[in-house]
Symmetry: C2
Subunit: 357 residues, 2 copies
DNA sequence: TGCATTAGATCAGTCGCGAAG
DNA sequence: GCTTCGCGACTGATCTAATGC
C-alpha cells in the first residue's frame, strides 16, 4: 500500500494523506478526514518507500558501509565489534545502513564497484581491510574524496588532516613487546597478519625499531604471517618453533591467531608461559578462557564504531574534518611470565636500563 | 554526478547517456558520441542512484534484514555467522542488503517500526531472536505475510508449510542429553538462554520429555537461564552448583555460556570432565581451545544463511514456499566423559536399556 | 528506409502554492 | 480571513514512442 492507494481508497488526494503522515496533529485537516485516515492506517497496510522518500527529500537517512574485501565481513572481529557501535548510534538517529555488493578483485576494484551504485546515501564509513595495502587504502580514500561526500575512515593508519578518522593508539604501557622485554624476554617472535596489511607493516617496523634502539639487529626470520586466521597461525608457529628453539615469547596481532599459536605450542610439548609467553590482540570474549588465560591488547572496537558514527553525523552536518583518538590497553592475564634467565640468549642487551627504552 | 549532468556536460540528451550505460555496444549511438561518453565516464565521476533506479525499475536489487531485537546485532554468533552466508549469496547476485532502524520496545514493536519504511525492497529475511517469544515470532511472521512480499524465516521453530524457512534439526546422534546419558550421566543440568526464547523452551521440553520417557520426573530446579551471555551463565552455574552437588553434567545452549560455566566450575575447585561434564552449542572457533576442549553441537550457521538467501531468491522468482532442513552435529572433544558411577544418584534408571531411548 | 537522437511519461513520495467553501 | 483540501511540479533513472535528417 502506498500513499496514493490509501488516498484513492478514501476518495481524497494524496496530499491530504501525506499531510496527515507528516503531522497527525496538524490543524490543516478536518477531524472527520483525520479519523478516516487514521482508521485505515491502523490496519497497518501502509509501507512508505524509502527510495521514493530519498529521491524527494534529497536525503536518504541511510549510511553505506564500505568494506573493500572479498571474504565475508562478519567473520572479522574488527568488523562485527565496530558495527555494534555503529549500529547503536545510527539506529538511535533512525538511520538505516547498507552493505553494497561488488564483483571481486582487489580492494580498489571492489570499492569502485560498490561506489558505482552508491549515489544518494547521506554518508559513508570506509574500512581498512586486511588485504589492502597502504597504497590501496590511500587510493580508496582519494576515490571517496573525489565525490565530495561525507565519510569517515576506520581501521586505517593516520592519514591527512582533512579526513575524518577514528584512530586507535598504543601507548607505551600497552606495547606488548616492551612488556615482554621488561619481563626479561629477548627472543621475541612476531605473529603478524598479512604482509600487505598496514597494521602488520607498522607492527613489524616497530618490532625492528625497538631492538634497533637497543643496539641489536633482528632478522626477519622471527616474523610469521598468519593471515589473521587460526589455522594458518598454528602451522606457521609450528614451523618456526621447530627450527628456532631460542624463542621465549610470541606477540600475535590477533587473538584468533593466538588460538592457533596455543595449539602449536602445546603440540610441541611446550608450556605457556613456562617455556613460551604469548600475547594476543583484541581481547576477544574467549581470551580469559584460554589456558592459560591470554594476556592481550584490548582494542576498544565497539567504542571506535560508535565514535565513527558520531563523527559521520558531524561530517554530514557540515563540520570540518577531524580525528578521534582512542587508546588500546594491555590486559594482563597469565600467558606472559618472566623469562627464565637461563633461556635468554640475548645476553648482549641484558645490561640495558629498561627505563630508557 | 548524475546521468543528466553528464548529458548536459556533453550537450546531449540524458536518454543517449542512459542508452550507452545500458549497453555500451549498442548500435543506436554513433561512434563519436560513444567516444565522448566513454571518455567522461572513465573519469569515474558518475554514481548511479540506487533509490532512483529502484523507483523506475520497480525492483531494488536490495534485501532487508529484519532482526527484531534491541541489542546490537553483531554480538550474536548466530547473526554474524548466518550473515556471512547471506552475504556470499547476495553479493554474488549483485544484491545489497540493509538493516532498518527501530525505536525499541518489544520484538513486535521493533518489527513494526522497521517495516514502516520498508517499501520497495525485493525481499526480506526475518530472524527469530533471543528475546522474542513464540507468540511474538508468529505475530511477526503474520505481519510480514500480510504484505504479500517474498520473505524467508531464519532461527525459528518450524512454522506453517506456506512459509519459506530454513530449519536446523538435531538428529538423535547430536542430542547432547542422550549422549551424556549414554556416558552414564543421570544428573544433568540445563544451561538455557532466556525463558521466552523458543529454542530454550524447546530444549527444556525435550529435557523433561527425555527423563519422562525413562519414567523419571525431573524438577525445574536444574534449569538455569544464562541469557546467552557468559557472565550471567557463570553466576547461574555458580549458584546452582553450590547448592546442588549431585549434578554431574551441564548442557549449555551456547558456547559463550559454556565459557561462563567453565569459569564457575573451576572457581568451585571442580574439574572438567572429571567432576562435571559440559556440552556446548555452536562450535565456536574457540571451542577447541578451551580447557578441556569443549564437546559441542555444531550448528551449520553459515550454510543456513546461504540457504536462506537462496530460498529468498526462489521466493522472489515466484516459487511456492518450502522448507530447507539442515542438521546439527555433535563435535566430540574432551569436556564430556563417562560419569563416575559412585557419583551417579540416578540409580533408579540405571537398568534402562539405552538403545530403546 | 534507416540511422542517430530525444521528448516525455513513469515510479512513490514531498511540498509550494493556490482554491473552494 | 480562515479552514480544509488538492493540483502539479520535482527528485533521478528507466524506457517507450517518436522525431529529424
Amino acid at each position: 500500500m502506498t500513499v496514493k492507494t490509501i488516498a484513492k481508497k478514501l476518495g481524497i488526494s494524496h496530499t491530504t494523506v501525506y499531510l496527515y503522515l507528516k503531522d497527525p496533529e496538524t490543524k490543516r485537516i478536518s477531524p472527520q478526514t483525520k479519523k478516516k485516515i487514521k482508521l485505515l492506517l491502523e490496519q497497518g497496510y501502509l509501507r512508505l518507500d524509502p527510495h521514493a522518500q530519498t529521491l524527494a527529500r534529497k536525503k536518504s537517512h541511510a549510511v553505506a558501509i564500505l568494506i573493500p574485501m572479498n571474504v565475508p565481513y562478519f567473520h572479522s572481529v574488527i568488523v562485527t565489534e565496530s558495527l555494534c557501535g555503529i549500529q547503536q548510534v545510527l539506529f538511535q538517529k533512525r538511520y538505516r545502513f547498507v552493505f553494497l555488493p561488488s564483483q571481486g578483485g582487489d580492494s580498489l576494484q571492489i570499492l569502485k564497484d560498490q561506489l558505482k551504485h552508491s549515489g544518494g546515501y547521506d554518508g559513508y564509513i570506509l574500512y581498512g581491510t586486511r588485504d589492502s595495502s597502504m597504497e590501496e587504502m590511500r587510493a580508496n580514500v582519494e576515490t571517496l574524496q573525489k565525490y565530495r561526500v561525507p565519510f569517515v575512515v576506520l581501521n586505517m593508519p593516520e592519514l591527512e588532516d582533512d579526513i575524518n578518522q577514528v584512530i586507535c593508539q598504543t601507548p607505551n604501557a600497552a606495547d606488548p613487546i616492551r612488556y615482554l622485554f621488561q619481563l626479561g624476554h629477548r627472543d621475541i617472535a612476531l605473529l603478524a597478519g598479512s604482509s600487505r596489511a598496514p597494521d602488520t607493516q607498522q607492527s613489524i617496523q616497530q618490532y625492528f625499531l625497538f631492538f634497533q634502539r637497543l643496539g641489536v639487529e633482528r632478522s626477519a626470520e622471527r616474523i610469521m604471517y598468519g593471515n589473521y586466521e587460526k589455522v594458518i597461525a598454528r602451522s606457521e608457529v609450528l614451523k618456526l618453533l621447530s627450527k628456532d628453539r631460542g624463542i621465549t615469547a610470541i606477540v600475535s596481532l590477533s587473538d584468533s591467531m593466538a588460538l592457533g599459536a596455543y595449539e602449536a605450542i602445546k603440540e610441541l610439548g611446550l608450556k605457556i608461559p613456562d617455556h613460551i609467553s604469548v600475547i594476543g590482540k583484541d581481547d576477544a570474549t574467549f581470551a580469559s578462557n584460554m589456558c592459560p588465560p591470554l594476556t592481550t591488547v584490548r582494542i576498544p572496537m565497539v567504542e571506535m564504531g560508535k565514535q565513527a558514527a558520531i563523527l559521520l553525523f558531524e561530517a554530514m552536518g557540515g563540520a570540518k574534518p577531524r580525528k578521534i583518538y582512542l587508546t588500546s590497553e594491555l590486559v594482563i592475564r597469565e600467558s606472559a611470565a618472566p623469562a627464565i634467565s637461563t633461556k635468554s640468549k640475548g645476553g648482549e642487551i641484558e645490561k640495558v636500563n629498561i627505563l630508557t627504552i
